[in-house]
């Protein structure tokens, strides 16, 4: 219905016409999410280029994670349209992989590493299809890509924070998707894990897949990503890192007081 209306009008309510974006991995128009009375994300437009690696950055409480969750339909949208590879979410889900925040689950849950990765195959396995050796092999290969094959039989409660994050990434790899959405994949992980994760993500990009990650460490944005989406409830800036990741935009997103500290941080970590 919304779609028909847009076609009739030739434009989405706000921003570019959605139809011209139909081949984009992810196009969001006018996305608003509200917890209670206060909008967490307000009328957000976002376009993710094919084969790009995009960082969603912004201060705490800016609605970064909420944006991802709303795109995936995990939290309800108040308004807005989302199209993934030109199709509504319901049709494009098999092409999306999602890595939630590590802290969002209970790691004392009774399950093994390999079983978590097998959850990435749940669409294929359905309700009752038995888990075959070929499935296990694929799960094991995904663990290999994050350097954790030897941990397959471990209880997940025995893993370090970095290892937990790698298992989550392996589960997303098992989903074999075209669009990877990651929520703070580098939060609280050790240096070796950070390198392992970025290697995997860059590998995904070189295979032509698209990566979008909520990111909190401004000092690595230039090294890790080619596009950036800066938000603070509203969209602040969007585009290639070289253009959009500017001091002026950071100041608008993080506010003047904080921005000074952040710029110092960037000078230390940047090049």
């Amino acid at each position: 219905m919304i779609r028909a209306l847009q076609t009739a009008m030739g434009r989405s309510p706000i921003g570019d016409p959605l139809d011209t974006l139909s081949d984009k991995p992810l196009a969001v128009r006018g996305l608003t999410v509200s917890y209670g009375d206060k909008p967490a994300v307000f009328s957000l437009d976002m376009t993710v280029e094919d084969g790009s690696m995009t960082a969603i950055i912004g201060p705490n409480g800016a609605g970064k994670s909420t944006t991802l969750k709303a795109v995936l339909g995990i939290v309800p949208r108040l308004s807005g349209v989302v199209s993934v590879f030109g199709q509504p979410l319901a049709k494009s889900r098999p092409r999306i992989a999602y890595v939630p925040q590590r802290a969002s689950v209970d790691w004392d849950f009774p399950t093994r590493v390999i079983d978590v990765v097998l959850m990435g195959l749940s669409r294929e396995l359905g309700l009752l299809r038995p888990v075959r050796e070929s499935h296990r092999q694929r799960a094991s290969d995904c663990l290999e890509r994050v350097g954790m094959r030897d941990f397959a039989e471990r209880q997940i409660g025995q893993l370090s924070g970095g290892q937990q994050q790698r298992v989550f990434l392996a589960r997303a790899l098992a989903q074999d998707a075209d669009l990877y959405l990651l929520d703070e994949p580098f939060a609280g992980v050790d240096a070796a894990t950070e390198r392992a994760i970025i290697d995997v993500l860059k590998g995904l990009r070189s295979e032509g897949r698209t990566v979008v990650a909520v990111h909190h460490d401004l000092s690595t944005v230039r090294d890790y990503f080619d596009h950036v989406m800066m938000i603070n409830v509203h969209k602040v800036a969007e585009g290639p890192v070289a253009e959009a990741f500017s001091e002026e935009n950071l100041q608008r997103a993080y506010g003047g007081r904080l921005a000074a500290n952040l710029m110092n941080q960037l000078q230390l970590g940047g090049h």
Binding site: R93, D106, P110, M119, R123, S160, R171, L181, A192
Partner: protein
């Protein structure tokens, strides 16, 4: 007497009750596992208390239409209706207000139970129909259990187990990571609804045997007990079913040995005994095993510290350390190391130096991450790697940490 009961020699009715209770226990343990894993165990308590007004209302309706007010199936249908209504209200409270689920549980549980008690009291005072036995739904009473009651429990229990089997995968996925499940296209609300339906069904068929006050125990205790024995959710389901079945069977048998022993409480106490034994003695997660692991770790660390002190000619400050060294034949009571003690101290010192060098070498990063102060370096590095480390120690000169 007890042996007779457990071996089903107390007669027809006791046997019937024991089998019925065992089937109920299996269904409750298996379904309860997912409530437990989803961390919503207490929802079942609200569901069970919300059955009571249904029992009263069904009695009134059946009596008003001139039937027998105590017809079991009719009473259970009434119970399911008000329980489902209570569940719906609870869901609405958490969804549309800022109330947390625990507050909603408290509100629904107490209001529905209160209303139920009032209804039953009124029914008894004005003595419509023949209400004797309605209060048995509170704590369960199996003395008058009929063959068709047992069949009802058996069929419904088997259905519940079948549903658990069919929905095991999505329920596990939602319990572990609801966000991921939703993103992958699983309808989380529908899975939760199915889980609640399952619990509701088990509660209803358990009313007659265990009673509404204690059915929650049969849903929660077996999975919690099973968790002590395994780290895999699929096995928690099976073991919880077994423990639940065992509690139901043994508890019902025990209560059959004396006429005044209430079935429900005895079943719950049996389940508790299994829980207590598991908590204390289960390998891995049990209290005793954890304590022994802790003590062993403490001994090894004291020994290691003692050896490093010897290697560096430092005094040994802690009595416990010295005791351990003496007991292992590594030192004399006055703190002077024995020949064996010196050799072992030298080895400990060499290990520490090797670890210190390994920490500086990036190539050994993953091995170093496993260092815990006790792990022999030979376990994580190959001989040629250690030779290379020793060469560096010879160059720079190493020292104990």
């Amino acid at each position: 007497m007890l042996i007779d009961a457990v071996t089903l020699q107390l007669g027809y009715n006791a046997t019937l009750v024991a089998i019925g209770a065992a089937l109920l226990g299996i269904a409750a343990g298996a379904s309860g596992t997912f409530l437990f894993l989803r961390k919503r165990a207490l929802v079942s308590d609200a569901i069970s208390h919300a059955t009571l007004p249904g029992v009263g209302l069904a009695f009134l309706v059946m009596t008003a239409f001139g039937g027998d007010g105590r017809h079991l199936v009719g009473l259970l249908i009434g119970a399911s209706l008000t329980a489902a209504f209570g569940l719906w209200i609870m869901h609405g409270l958490t969804r549309h207000t800022r109330l947390a689920e625990d507050a909603a549980i408290g509100a629904v549980l107490s209001v529905f139970f209160g209303f139920g008690v009032v209804l039953l009291t009124v029914i008894q005072t004005v003595s419509v129909g023949r209400p004797a036995g309605l209060e048995d739904f509170l704590l369960g009473a199996t003395a008058g259990m009929l063959y068709q009651d047992a069949v009802l429990i058996a069929v419904a229990g088997a259905l519940a187990v079948l549903v658990v089997w069919a929905l095991c995968r999505p329920m596990t996925l939602v319990a572990f990571d609801a966000g991921f499940a939703a993103a992958a296209g699983v309808n989380v609300r529908r899975v939760d609804l199915a889980m609640m339906g399952l619990v509701l069904a088990v509660t209803i068929i358990g009313l007659k045997v265990v009673g509404l006050v204690l059915i929650v125990a049969l849903l929660i205790i077996p999975p919690v007990t099973a968790r002590f024995w395994t780290n895999r959710s699929d096995r928690v389901v099976v073991i919880a079913g077994l423990f639940g079945g065992l509690s139901g069977f043994v508890g019902a048998a025990i209560s059959a040995t004396a006429p005044s022993l209430p079935t429900g409480p005895i079943i719950v106490l049996t389940a508790f005994v299994l829980f207590a034994v598991s908590m204390l003695f289960a390998p891995g997660r049990g209290v005793l095993a954890a304590w022994m692991r802790h003590r062993r770790q403490q001994r090894r660390i004291h020994l290691r510290q003692g050896l490093l002190a010897i290697a560096q000619d430092l005094p040994i400050y802690e009595r416990y350390t010295l005791q351990l060294l003496v007991r292992a034949g590594l030192a004399r009571a006055d703190g002077v190391p024995t020949e064996l003690g010196r050799r072992r101290a030298e080895k400990a010192c060499r290990d520490e130096s090797r670890w210190a060098v390994a920490r500086r070498m990036h190539s050994h990063e993953s091995a170093v991450s496993r260092y815990d102060g006790l792990l022999p370096i030979e376990d994580v590095l190959t001989r040629d790697e250690i030779r290379e480390i020793d060469r560096q120690i010879a160059d720079v000169g190493g020292e104990c940490a």
